[in-house]
Amino acid sequence: MSSEGGHSWARAFRYTFVRDLRLRIRHGSEWGSPLIFFALIVTLFPLATTPDRTVLVTFAPGILWVAALLAVLLSLDALFREDHDDGTLEQMLLSPVPAWLLVLAKMCAHWVMAGLPLALMSPMLGLMLALPSSVFWVTALSLALGSATLILIGAIGAALTVGVRRGGLLLALMVLPLYIPVLIFGAGVVRLALDGIDVTPYLAILGAMFAAALALSPWASAAALRLAHSG
């Protein structure tokens, strides 16, 4: 029984993951917008402050991270909204497979479409912010790991506000305070790398936050979705 149960769990996870990916890819503007937003925000900073490369490089870790954080925040609405509106989410909650597993699958798909691309884009934007190419890898790694944590934390907020009309600003209000520790250590990784200091302690803390969020968030998000649905 248990092996059969495990087998169906894996299948449900894979199915939800592939389904979400497929839906996202077909809605090009939905996953494209946060990425363009990311690039736009990064563009605003040199224009508003200074194009001086020596000054810009000191701000670059912060600018990249704040812009990525806002892009993730903007993308969160897509996580549950559509499935909530057309009733798919309700079916997921009713299914015999535990809801946290399906929620986790949705989060993974979301990371592939909204978190990972931010990390992949970061070298290009880093170039515009005068970051030396030696820190590109670390920047991308910190953003890949950090964006996963941001999505996990944000999913709780997205689940809580899924039933609220115009929940966007409310979501920002709830989630941004919780994002601050990730931001501190994420941007800290890049800054340490810029100064030529060993980044592993900060990366380890970032990883620890990811692990904690991974353990708690799918469960909390599923509970929040249940609350939203039971009225």
Binding site: I156, G157, L160, T161, G163, V164, G167, L170, L173, M174, L176, P177, L178, I180, P181, A220, A223, A224, L227, A228, G231
Partner: protein, 250 residues
């Protein structure tokens, strides 16, 4: 045991009992705060380094403690409400939130005022200060989330989940002065060792802290009673209560 809990969880019983308790709590808060404030502000000796500016401690420490305790209370209420679906817990969590937010603001504000004579600046991006600021934003988020729902019950449950998530901030605030090298000093009081201040300084502080907790209890209790009346205004016992009061007045 369960019967006892259920009796206490009933708004009606709670209202009856709290009618007797509330005035005592208000009186206790008034006495403790008056004595503590007079003693601390007028009679305690001035600090040899900070002179009179150290007296801000008598406002700063109690409000900061309340800010954290209030969040802890909300988290406990959240568990009770989510697990056992006791409505009274949701009412307490609801009325405690604005009080906690104002205490957090008071702590930040008094800290900023204190920062000028001691640190020479209103604000530094210190771990303790930043984590308190996050606490203030968490309070705002919880309050805003509660009122975003049309149905009171849904708003209460959403706010409960967010308060539980926000609890991670409490240990960060507590240990921020130990984990990082901060400008903010470490705890002035602890249960395990003698205070580092002379008696004439810490006794009024202790009074202020106890008074602050009494005030916290009194405010939450009174506001809970109001909220019970508001939510249960259709219940028979509330109507009877209102007609009784009206009869007495006329």
């Amino acid at each position: 045991m369960w019967q006892w809990i259920h009796k206490w969880a009933s708004p009606k019983h709670f209202y009856r009992v709290s009618t007797r308790v509330a005035p005592w709590l208000w009186g206790l808060a008034l006495i403790l705060l008056t004595v503590g404030a007079l003693w601390g502000l007028a009679f305690a000796p001035a600090d040899y380094q900070q002179h009179d500016s150290f007296r801000i401690i008598y406002v700063h420490v109690p409000s900061a403690m309340l800010a954290e305790s209030c969040f802890a209370l909300m988290a406990v209420c959240a568990v009770v409400f989510l697990v056992w679906k006791i409505k009274l817990a949701d009412i307490v969590a609801k009325v405690a939130a604005p009080f906690g937010a104002s205490m957090t603001f008071a702590a930040l504000f008094s800290g900023a005022v204190w920062g000028i004579p001691t640190w020479g600046t209103w604000w530094v991006w210190d771990a303790r200060l930043t984590s308190m600021l996050i606490l203030l934003f968490l309070y705002f988020g919880i309050i805003a989330l509660r009122y975003a729902f049309a149905r009171e019950h849904s708003g209460g449950r959403a706010a409960a989940v967010l308060s539980l998530v926000g609890v991670v901030n409490l240990p960060i605030i507590k240990y921020s002065v130990e984990w990082w090298n901060t400008l903010h000093q470490t705890a002035s009081f602890s249960l395990t060792k003698a205070p580092s201040m002379p008696e004439s300084m810490w006794v009024p502080l202790l009074l202020m802290m106890l008074g602050a907790y009494a005030l916290f209890g009194a405010v939450v209790l009174s506001r809970t009673r109001n909220e019970i009346l508001r939510r249960e205004h259709r219940a028979r016992w509330v109507r009877a209560l209102i007609t009784d009061t009206c009869d007495k007045e006329h």
